[in-house]
Symmetry: C2
Subunit: 322 residues, 2 copies
């Protein structure tokens, strides 16, 4: 991370899927403060680090500004991962994305300002492009039209961070990730399919027509990309797409999941080119910008899915208790 | 407005500079409900309509969701103008833009949803492009980097509206305006310069180097553009830049203001290519999209400035009491 000097790194959402994997890798070199409200996790992801001398945990919500501000004291870098991370259920509770992802990001920025911390890494999403007109989609894609409350809330978070860079001299690394897979994966289609197939291995209900084209990336590859960008990109505002060099159809994904689970279900598609309101029929990001810094994904989508299925079989309560 | 049939139109910020001019023109054909908290105006802008049978006024804040929802009952179209409209002071109170312009827009959308109203016109801003890379700037400019909290908050409002179109079947007209001038103008550089020259006609302090290139438009031309777009553009999401076919330097603007005031001050520039944090050194929008619908501005920037100076001389308390 930029220098070999030990830093004190504040990780919001550090107990979650991505956060805890990041913390595992930061902890040997850096002091790490995890700030998490355990809304998406139960603390088990932190078993591997909880006794480490470099580790501290503060249970708190990013929607609690005084607590957030106090917790952030003396940190050098904020990695802001805490979010409502599920794109699918936005329309059921439209305030959730706004509060957690936009207002929450504002609170993080204000806490940084109060503590004179100026460097932030932010987990944004490929969903900010809405239904991209250019595929693979570059970072300078035309001004997007949002198609989901999740994408809109993350795009708004990006905008706030950028305005803090202009207004208060912050420096930012913004990552537009495709969906991540791997150990500690906790929500999304692979989990849904595994649980469904666990209940009934003979049939699988597929939202949409199954031909939606999606990209996924292994979580460790994403973390490598975060490290690479913070090490090597030193503009005031650094924005990177993070994804693999391939995409797959939902049908491909199902084939790999069923291969991993050794089942052979009949597929029942609900039809239409979108699985849900705001679902994008084709997500595939142009990652040449981060690749120009020397980063490359090490795992294919198939490998990432098989690793995830393997993890879920041994760790997801609904699956592993059988 | 789309049909000759009378509609019930809800105008947030309807007592303000732009809103009250819009209401004056809507009132003969339509029922108009103005919702305003009088934070930017004192009610005098509504003198011309307050006794009209088609007019009703509800004093309220867009940050008061229950009141907003109740006030909006039975309306057919929402014109959402209420905002923190001053781009300059964002960094002094960074929550103000977020609350008024992003959360406020969310509240408007939620009130619409509760009342089953699906059509919204929204006053956005050319500031959403940040420091535009392409000038004149088209609506599909590359994914912008925000340079002000104001621009970020309006871009976030746009994103929310777009997500409501995708998620709830709303239809939207989004207008990215350059700065407006004309009768009832209430804040901005023309007022600041007029007041300053009123105090001391011999000297004028100019933020920046005076060479910032800006676009302005006469408020009635903007209202014509709103009517034209709602009449003729029927996509689900309709986004239009609104501005004149020209730009001027701050020095040009000062020359016209001093011409209008008949003064000849010495100019003292503070230097630098920006007047303030987040100031854009060059704003000039490509308006070919709205022009293709038949709209054209009727007034030049010079004419708009002279009309504004004339209005301020007779209506601004600080100027007219001399």
């Amino acid at each position: 991370m930029q220098t070999d000097k030990q830093q004190r790194i504040f990780v919001t959402g550090g107990a979650g899927f991505v956060g805890s994997n990041l913390v595992d890798r930061l902890i040997e070199k850096h002091q790490v403060v995890v700030y998490d409200n355990f809304s998406n996790s139960d603390g088990s992801n932190l078993e591997s680090v909880k006794l480490h001398q470099n580790f501290s945990l503060i249970e708190g919500n990013i929607l609690d500004p005084p607590k957030l501000q106090e917790a952030m004291q003396d940190c050098d870098l904020v990695v802001h991962l805490a979010a409502n991370a599920d794109v699918r259920f936005g329309t059921l509770n439209p305030g959730k994305d706004l509060h957690n992802n936009t207002t929450g990001t504002f609170n993080v920025l204000e806490a940084m300002r109060a503590n004179n911390i100026k460097r932030i890494a932010f987990a944004s999403t490929g969903s900010v492009y809405g239904d991209a007109k250019i595929i693979p989609t570059p970072e300078d894609h035309p001004f997007p039209i949002q198609t989901s409350l999740y994408g809109a809330s993350k795009a708004a978070g990006e905008g706030l961070i950028q305005a803090y860079c202009a207004g208060y001299g912050f420096q930012a690394w913004i990552f537009r990730f495709v969906s991540m897979l791997g150990e500690r994966y906790s929500h999304g289609h692979v989990l849904d399919f595994c649980r469904s197939l666990n209940k009934n291995p003979h049939e699988l209900r597929v939202l949409g027509d199954g031909r939606q084209k999606k990209s996924y990336i292994y979580v460790q590859d994403s973390i490598n990309a975060i490290f690479c960008a913070i090490d090597k990109a030193d503009e005031q505002i650094n924005i990177f797409n993070i994804g693999t060099n391939e995409y797959c159809e939902v049908f491909d994904s199902i084939a790999w999941i069923t291969e991993g689970l050794k089942v052979n279900p009949k597929l029942l598609t609900t039809g239409g080119d979108r699985g849900w309101v705001g679902d994008s029929p084709f997500i595939f990001l142009d990652t040449s910008k981060i690749q120009a810094l020397g980063w490359q994904p090490q795992y294919s989508i198939k490998e990432a899915i098989l690793k995830t299925v393997n993890y879920l079989q041994t760790h997801d309560r609904q699956l592993s208790t059988l």
